[in-house]
Symmetry: C4
Subunit: 204 residues, 4 copies
């Protein structure tokens, strides 16, 4: 029956549905944070809640970055099918686990929660990359895109957020991590511009 | 007053509303999962959380499959009325119980939760089938559909998800269950193609 | 600044926002229901959860009925302004209290929760009636409607849901309550038709 | 890649996403309110729940006012870019903390929660003002607006809600606070009209 689905309306409903899941996941991040039972003055309040608020801010940034990635990749699509539905559900199913991951982060013991959290973040990136790879190379659901650009988009979403999330935790201990992150962003900027030039050259 | 409702706008608002309920139900599935109080290493963490994550994955799949069914059936509609509102509310009211059903599943004792869970899943399928039966045969709210196809659509959503959900639990104990599930899918594929041929023959 | 708001886009965004609040309130109704700690067999499970599931079903019906009322009244509007925003927020603020009201209902002691719950339901109806009264008679935000019809719409949403909700609790004790409810619906049907005839007569 | 984003579709998806976050935050405000364990009569119920319901009403009003501000400012935009995404995420991240702030408010000790709550409310206003400042003066994302009007819009959302929220708490202790609030609103009304006149003069 999937051939009867009108692709554009289907795509629109898929985007709205995904937005709702992102919005709920991002708002639920805060719902498990409760005020401490005893506190004395604003300073004490923030001292007691600091870790939770940091964990919240990090996860909010993660959801935000993936929402932007998701929006950009869906802007490149022109149609949807059932396989895309399923791949998108995998993405959403992982995003919906972020409130749980955030709780792990603020209750963590001896840094054991960091690899779990980074692993979850990296998995979301891989799931979006898989979705894009299917849409661009197999399902032919994307607007025409030069192959180099399509590969670059896939690799970037697959690797960048997980790498940056992991590096920012590393950087808390080893300050040279910030330099690695800056270098990565500068390198990507350069690659970005190079691929745009190649794509343009192919177009003309 | 229902005759004054402009059917298409009504249908659109009904779809958006349903999407929001599906999205919230799917995201709330994870919210009752909390990290264990004591854990030592990632292996131990997953050993302790394994059952909950499986229950989550199963329910996420169930909501996903029903969202796809719901989307496909509403794609076949061209209008809505108050009776459709009520039938759709029954569907949504059952979907919103899935987080509770999932909790039952991971706290289960001696397999007693399986029939309750499968019963809930089967009820959602029956409710969607009822909605479609009303829309196609009574309320004349659907785009023209050959009768054989309409009956097939109704029976498939009424029976398939509940049956597959039940069989996958059976298959955990009796491995021949997987064979039954595979045979069912192949049989449906064949039926699917046959009905498409009949519908085409009627159209010409 | 409110004069600069383009009314139709404003109205659209208000409807989407309201739908989201209704959808969240309806889905959260179930989230406070947890499985009992000990249960033995499906029969025992339902015996222990019966009251909660009834309370859930009643509140789901209440939200459903008010969603339909809200949709119908907004279908009669052609524009929005800041006053409508505020009145609509009052409606939504009361709807969002329904999960709390439902909890009261299933934890009730000696029937004391019934009047509180019925009061909340009645307040939502009054708030929607106030919104419609403003839109139709003061703000001139509605499509042209004969005055008798506008008054009837206002009175119906102000009184009917609260009355029916209260009567259905009364009917649990005094069975003649069901007869009163049936008579009310028949009477409204008659009034409905009469007003349609008057409106038509005025139009021609 | 941000240059490739089609601004209008991007803006539309950003608005829908923001609405969902506002709607969820506003509905979750009520979810942490539970009925008291023991109560005797409606009077006792409200005596015990009064503070929570007041805190709920205040926060509902805050979210409502900011939703209206957000809607009005986005109505002035014609396009979106990645910087706007990020600034909007900061707004939403603060809005999603309001249920936590509300909990602080009703569990407060010796008025210590008031400055924290007012600080959160003021921060949301500043974040929206920052978003508007970027959109109007840096990113050129707004419909053409006279500079005086743009500055006034920025200052109003930056200062007014936080000031009014703080003053209404002050007024509980010092009744002259109400007079200050009334004077502020009258002054703004006057400023509002003056700026409209200047804008009109510039346009002709």
């Amino acid at each position: 029956m999937s051939d009867q689905d009108s692709g554009a309306g289907h795509l629109h409903r898929l985007v709205l549905f995904s937005d709702a899941v992102f919005a709920i996941a991002i708002t639920l991040l805060a719902i498990e944070i409760h005020p401490p039972h005893h506190w004395n003055g604003i300073r004490d309040l923030f001292a007691q809640m600091g870790v939770k608020l940091w964990a919240y801010a990090i996860s909010f940034a993660v959801v935000g970055i993936y929402w932007i990635s998701h929006r950009r990749i869906f802007q490149r699509l022109r149609s949807a099918n059932v396989v895309l539905d399923v791949l998108n559900f995998i993405v959403l199913g992982l995003v919906a686990l972020l409130p749980l991951g955030t709780e792990l982060l603020w209750e963590q013991r001896a840094g054991q929660a960091f690899p779990v959290y980074v692993g979850l973040v990296a998995l979301i990136g891989l799931a979006i990359a898989l979705l894009w790879a299917y849409a661009a190379f197999v399902g032919k659901l994307a607007h025409p895109t030069p192959k180099a650009e399509a590969v670059y988009v896939m690799l970037r979403v697959a690797l960048l957020p997980g790498f940056m999330c992991g590096m920012s935790f590393v950087s808390l201990v080893y300050p040279w991590g910030w330099a690695v992150m800056a270098a990565t962003l500068v390198g990507l900027q350069w690659l970005n511009r190079r691929i745009a030039r190649v794509s343009q050259a192919q177009a003309t």
